[in-house]
């Protein structure tokens, strides 16, 4: 396969972005980092001068035989996925976009992953390296384009899910994986208890699972292998074949379940946690480790219930009462967050309050 290095267009705005941040650092100007706006609903809103990361866009390097793609943060996720697909490769974490304008930078800053996550890893698992701008306007590079690199602290992964509060992500290098030779989606009607049982049993066997979900008495399973492997697994799992578009609708939250004005919570906890005693409707993903809850229960009750199981709850959408979107941290961990924030962004100008009030 030929190298594709060099044939991509794009724009390198790193110097201009660094200058804007450096100036903001000197003037103590709060910056609100924006990309395609697809995740503006997520977290709290930062009031401040706009820092438009979409000015910095384009794929920098993609070599299918090296299983690595490097792109600027403002590159549209859909452009990356298209190029990968043309080379029979993909992003293993199957990120949601929530809009055609979604960018790579926003996806990594939120550490968003889709249905494949439970079986192939999260966004942070695929990050090999990054270039960032700190809160002082310094451009720094960590990790690289190689699969293994343990030189220095893993700052690239630290940026995943930090929502821009530690630095502006400029470029990201990601490991990519081959497209599965074949995929098949299956539907089984069963009770919740049965569904959780099935998912726990199957995950202990060497089955080619690539997604799972449960909603309204229906268990959805996706298999990824070659044709023979899928047939073999289907004999164990059973069920009827359905259209694979289900997973796209699930990932992009376009299923009817998500069409609600009720508070939408994202619960992350041990996969074998029992059904939670909370009012509302639940959609299960990731073998039971991710649960979407539509509920009017109080934030305290939801958080307490999930916390006792070692998990955490994010107020994902429809947060009209300005409740803290993210789960409270233990005092010691919270103190480390403040100290790390200070290490990267001493003037507290990068997306303050977007995640937590004090960082």
């Amino acid at each position: 396969m030929p190298e594709i290095n060099g044939q991509f267009s794009g724009q390198d705005a790193s110097q201009a972005l660094a200058r804007q941040i450096e100036q903001a650092y000197h003037n103590h100007t709060v910056l609100n980092i924006t990309g395609g706006g697809s995740k503006a609903f997520y977290g709290q809103h930062t009031q401040g001068e706009q820092l438009d990361a979409t000015r910095h866009h384009g794929i920098i390097n993609y070599q299918p035989t090296e299983l690595v793609i490097t792109a600027r943060a403002g590159t549209r996720l859909s452009d990356i996925e298209k190029v990968l697909r043309e080379n029979r490769q993909m992003l293993g974490f199957e990120p949601p976009g929530f809009s055609p304008h979604a960018t790579l930078g926003g996806t990594i800053a939120c550490n968003f992953s889709g249905p494949r996550r439970a079986y192939r890893g999260a966004a942070r698992d695929y990050v090999l390296g990054s270039r960032i701008i700190t809160g002082k306007g310094e451009i720094q590079q960590f990790g690289g384009e190689v699969m293994k690199n343990v030189a220095g602290y893993d700052v690239s992964r630290l940026m995943c899910g930090a929502m821009g509060t530690l630095g502006l992500i400029l470029d990201v290098s990601l490991k990519v994986i081959p497209l599965p030779e074949a995929e098949r989606s299956l539907l089984l009607e069963c009770s919740l208890e049965q569904a959780l049982n099935y998912m726990h049993r199957w995950v202990q066997q060497s089955l080619p699972l690539s997604a799972s979900a449960y909603l309204d008495g229906k268990l959805y399973i996706r298999l990824a292998s070659n044709e023979g492997g899928i047939q073999q697994a289907q004999q164990i799992i059973g069920g009827d074949t359905i259209d694979e578009n289900f997973w796209h609708l699930l990932k992009e939250q376009q299923l009817a379940f998500f069409n609600t004005e009720k508070p939408l919570w994202r619960l992350s906890l041990a996969s074998n946690s029992p059904a939670l005693k909370l009012n509302g409707e639940t959609l299960y993903e990731w073998g039971g480790a991710l649960r979407w809850l539509r509920s009017d229960e109080s934030a305290d009750k939801i958080r307490h219930t999930v916390e006792t199981l070692g998990g955490h709850a994010i107020f994902f959408k429809n947060n009209t009462q300005q409740i803290d979107p993210f789960h409270e941290l233990s005092p010691g961990v919270q103190a480390l967050h403040r100290q790390l924030k200070n290490a990267f962004d001493p003037a507290n100008i990068l997306n303050p309050v977007r995640m937590y009030a004090d960082i």
């Binding site: 070599q63 035989t65 090296e66 439970a118 999260a122 942070r124 698992d125 310094e138 590079q141 690289g144 190689v146 699969m147 293994k148 690199n149 343990v150 030189a151 220095g152 602290y153 893993d154 700052v155 992964r157 630290l158 726990h200 995950v203 202990q204 060497s206 080619p208 292998s225 070659n226 044709e227 023979g228 492997g229 047939q231 073999q232 697994a233 992350s268 906890l269 996969s271 074998n272 946690s273 990731w286 480790a289 991710l290 199981l309 070692g310 998990g311 955490h312 994010i314 993210f326 789960h327 941290l329 961990v333 919270q334 480390l336 100290q339 790390l340 290490a343 990267f344 995640m355 937590y356």
Partner: protein, 484 residues
């Protein structure tokens, strides 16, 4: 005097036999797997409860005493080299597997549990722990996390950072913190990732929840011989671009093949310039088809011989040669020095050629063992420590190999860590601003700089001194610093 007061305070925390301070008791702790560096600690502490670790770290914090955590001491970069004025904190007594949860596919273990012991315990559920460093029979999970250890199965199953879910650490202030969670993610910053591979600089790991995987239904290994290393490298790229991710993809050069064959009779072809070992695992249908495709690719790209292991015995024999490669090379020479650079795979021919030139220049032979799938080189430099100056020449040669890895876009360490060994090459890999950022992260956790001081991240002054000796392309690195 300081030693006496430290000892008496330690003896209030630990039973008498858990505090070692006589020279003969300290001797076993003087080095880790990088035995070229040796140093006795002031005292060795062997706690067996979390509370004891907390008390020890609080004491260190109060008295400004450096502390170096140690697992099995198998590390290859001097990361567990003791501090002459400090406590060597052994986690060896934390050797219990607390629980295995097959439904969650996790195991909760203490840091002193051996890597292989986790898979052995999980096997009754048909599960295993994927990262498999060569030292897995001895190395412990606490050290694996501190170093972000890899192994031959990384390309498909990831490094340590991909296979742990939660850790409990003690900070230098003595506080017990939980990072990660019971689910697949946790709130706030990814401190679990930050601690993984932090080489004992940020906290002491006292418990880990690791992820387990189902044992694959089938595993097949293919051995291919090549009369040219470049052809072998091309074959690797083409296997991957064909959409196949092997469970393991290893390359050995002529010298490594010879050494391994003489040592364990693995059945390797001795006339080959390079061999590839390609393991495919998964369901029967998929593996059967992938074996066929890989064979076709290997033939097409000029393999002189392709053999598929016919049974489990032959498969183990093929791997035995690779896994014994280090000690096998050790038999060729009084000493060997194992390097650990990574490169983008496409640069392999150039890097091997230049390494050959350096080998001639230094008059030191090199055997090459290569995690070909993920670009991780392990050149083994053969030398004799009893020949005056030869160790120094070997270190310089090794340093130049690592600098070459950086030059082609790779890294000075893929899985062994920086430790003390590669601290100078950190100045080549990173700019001053990035090194300062690392120090700022360190300060966020350990403002007094007591956890494993002097390792992993060089001071800018050290880089300035090192840079004065290594001028690249006529440019001084770290030009903003005054010279000594």
């Amino acid at each position: 005097m300081k030693k006496q007061s430290l000892l008496s305070r330690l003896q209030q925390i630990l039973p008498q036999d858990a505090v070692l301070h006589q020279a003969e008791d300290l001797r076993p702790y003087e080095c880790d797997g990088l035995s070229a560096y040796r140093q006795l600690p002031l005292v060795v502490a062997l706690p067996d409860t979390i509370e004891q670790v907390q008390s020890i770290l609080r004491l260190c914090h109060e008295l400004d005493v450096p502390v170096v955590a140690r697992g099995a001491g198998t590390g290859l970069s001097g990361g567990a080299l003791p501090h002459t004025d400090g406590i060597l904190l052994s986690l060896a007594k934390f050797s219990e597997i607390i629980s295995i949860n097959p439904e969650q596919r996790t195991a909760i273990v203490q840091p002193g549990v051996r890597n292989l012991a986790i898979s052995e315990a999980a096997s009754e559920y048909g599960l295993y722990y994927a990262p498999d460093p060569s030292s897995q029979i001895a190395c412990t999970i606490g050290g694996n996390i501190a170093e972000n250890s890899g192994g031959v199965h990384c390309l498909k199953y990831g490094l340590t950072v991909h296979n742990i879910q939660q850790i409990k650490i003690i900070t230098i202030q003595g506080e017990l913190l939980t990072l990660g969670g019971s689910g697949l993610d946790s709130p706030g910053y990814d401190l679990l990732a930050l601690l993984t591979g932090s080489e004992g600089m940020l906290g002491v790991i006292v418990e880990a929840t690791v992820k387990l995987l189902p044992e694959p239904a089938v595993a097949r290994v293919i051995l291919a011989a090549f009369d040219d290393v470049v052809k072998a490298g091309e074959a690797v790229g083409n296997i991957i671009s064909d959409g196949i991710i092997p469970a393991g993809l290893e390359m050995m050069d002529k010298l490594a093949i010879k050494a391994a064959e003489a040592f364990v009779n693995a059945g390797y072809p001795l006339d080959a310039d390079a061999i590839l070992l390609c393991e495919l695992d998964g369901g029967l249908c998929e593996v059967t088809e992938h074996v066929k495709r890989v064979k076709t690719i290997l033939d097409h790209y000029g393999a002189t011989e392709v053999r598929v292991a016919q049974d489990e015995n032959e498969r183990m024999a093929f791997w035995k040669g690779r896994k014994a490669a280090f000690p096998a090379v050790g038999r060729l020479s009084p000493d060997y020095y194992c390097m650990d650079g990574t490169i983008p795979r496409k640069h392999l021919p150039e890097v091997l050629r230049r390494m050959g030139e350096l080998s001639t220049e230094y008059g030191l032979a090199v055997a090459n063992v290569f995690h070909a799938g993920d670009g991780n080189l392990h050149p083994l430099i053969l030398y004799d420590a009893n020949t005056p100056g030869e160790l120094e020449r070997t270190e310089e040669f090794g340093g130049r190999i690592l600098e070459m890895c950086v030059e082609v876009g790779g890294s000075i360490t893929g899985e062994h860590g920086v430790g003390l060994e590669k601290i100078n090459q950190m100045c080549v890999q990173f700019a001053s601003s990035e090194l300062s950022q690392f120090h700022a992260i360190k300060d966020a956790f350990d403002p007094k700089g007591l956890l494993n001081p002097g390792k992993a991240v060089p001071t800018l002054h050290r880089c300035a001194e090192f840079g004065a000796m290594h001028v690249h392309h006529g440019k001084l690195p770290h030009p903003e610093l005054e010279r000594f």
